[in-house]
């Protein structure tokens, strides 16, 4: 699980071009949207693509995204439980 969290942080920093942010700046429970990392709706689409492309998870209900993408912790838990690759 810890390795997955680290992997996710790396992917988020690279895919979303968060140039000024290092892995250690993102706490597992930091909110990804709003006050935390400050991601926006375009980033949300990028995260959905990461789930699909890298872990084989297709989000059928967009409403699910709100709880899945709350933090690295929630993302990692959802991926662990649902990944197909």
């Amino acid at each position: 699980m810890e390795a997955l969290k680290e992997e996710l942080k790396n992917k988020i920093i690279t895919t979303l071009n968060l140039e000024d942010i290092a892995i250690e700046d993102i706490a597992d429970n930091d909110p990804l949207f709003g006050d935390g990392l400050g991601l926006d709706s375009i980033d949300a689409l990028e995260l959905i693509v990461i789930l699909d492309k890298d872990y084989g998870i297709k989000l059928v209900d967009p409403k699910e995204g709100k709880s899945i993408f709350q933090s690295i912790e929630t993302m990692a838990a959802y991926i662990s439980a649902n990944r197909t690759k």
Binding site: I42, E46, V49
Partner: protein
């Protein structure tokens, strides 16, 4: 009455250090590479990191160059933004297309698509200035910038706008450059070191950059020059150039002897530089001749770098040695003519006066 058009502010990001400098005092000629990259400013000084993270290189350079021009002209907003670009945000276009191919048309994300359109630069500048006025982007090969300039001049003359931000911007994209190399548009490595004025090979040294100008309908303390005229001709034969230029000058009540300096777009391609060589050796033999693509590299909107250079010369009355083709001098540099073409097509004449 027709209003006059003045260049009241300039900003340039190029393959030379053209920001935080007076005028090309730090310029260096690179003869050992076939592609030149821009000298980057500190983008964070102009764009918040949150906004910059999705911006392509060309967008960032356009925003910085326009911010420099606005600061130089001491204006906080403009009535219109007009941009010229040959290839637009080609880096993100490449990324987007590569994603489509690599992922078999699946998993497409919006970021690089958003940035891949040609009008992204003009749009992002407008967003950063909150300018809701006329916003237009011209994509016309090597006369993209002159098309924008001509539009801006006409808007000011017809009283459609009092102040306009106009600029030319292009960025290098790795895959596009590889295609240009294959097509022979870029010099071969074994034709280096390049010597633009005495070239014996075809192809050019490629470059990139963003040059922006604040045009206004009134002369101010910050004024660099007045834009007297701009003309675009898509096709002209070698033997038509001289008479076309004479006619262009005549329309403006000038003769060749009235021109204090001519800026020629020598690019180092032996086939198309003949257009410039003919003028340099004949009609303009007694005129100070200047060149710039050894500093800026060749790209569709490199002529915007030439306008930046000519504006600086008129304001400072100083011609750096590094841009001189010949040793002819004039006591003053009040009338400057710019002539550019690429591969014998897309000819442009721009006339400036003090």
């Amino acid at each position: 009455m027709t209003k006059k058009t003045y260049i009241n502010g300039v900003g340039c990001i190029s393959t030379q250090k053209t920001f935080d400098t007076v005028f090309l005092e730090e310029a260096v000629v690179n003869t050992t590479e076939t592609v030149l990259s821009i000298v980057s400013p500190v983008y964070k000084d102009y764009i918040s990191p949150a906004a910059a993270r999705r911006m392509a290189k060309g967008v960032k350079n356009g925003i910085v160059a326009s911010a420099l021009a606005m600061k130089d002209a001491n204006v906080e907003n403009v009535d219109a933004i007009i941009t010229g670009t040959g290839l637009g945000c080609i880096e993100d276009s490449e990324k987007f297309l590569k994603n489509i191919l690599d992922n078999n048309e699946e998993f497409l994300t919006p970021t690089s698509f958003i940035q891949s359109t040609h009008n992204t630069v003009g749009a992002q500048i407008a967003l950063s200035l909150q300018c809701k006025g006329y916003n237009f982007t011209y994509v016309n090969g090597a006369v993209s910038f002159e098309s924008a300039l001509l539009d801006a001049k006409m808007q000011i003359e017809e009283n459609e706008a009092n102040s306009i931000l106009v600029g030319g911007v292009d960025e290098n994209g790795e895959y596009t450059l590889s295609l240009f190399k294959l097509a022979g548009r870029i010099k071969k490595e074994n034709d280096l070191p390049s010597n633009i004025l005495n070239t014996t090979s075809t192809g050019v040294v490629y470059g990139e950059g963003a040059s922006f100008f604040v045009l206004e309908n009134e002369r101010k303390d910050s004024t660099y020059a007045e834009i007297l005229d701009v003309e675009i001709r898509n096709t002209l034969e070698e033997n038509e150039i001289e008479s076309e230029l004479i006619t262009f000058l005549k329309v403006n009540n000038l003769e060749i002897s009235d021109v204090d300096a001519v800026v020629l777009g020598f690019g180092g391609n032996i086939e198309s530089d003949v257009y410039y060589k003919n003028l340099a050796e004949n009609a303009f033999a007694k005129t100070p001749q200047l060149y710039y693509k050894h500093l800026s590299g060749e790209y569709d909107t490199a002529s915007a770098f030439a306008l930046w250079m000519a504006s600086k010369i008129i304001k400072t009355q100083d011609i750096p040695e590094i841009v001189k083709v010949n040793s002819v001098t004039k006591p003053v540099y009040n009338i400057i003519l710019l002539y550019n073409q690429v591969n014998g097509k897309n000819h442009s004449f721009t006339l400036l006066s003090k």
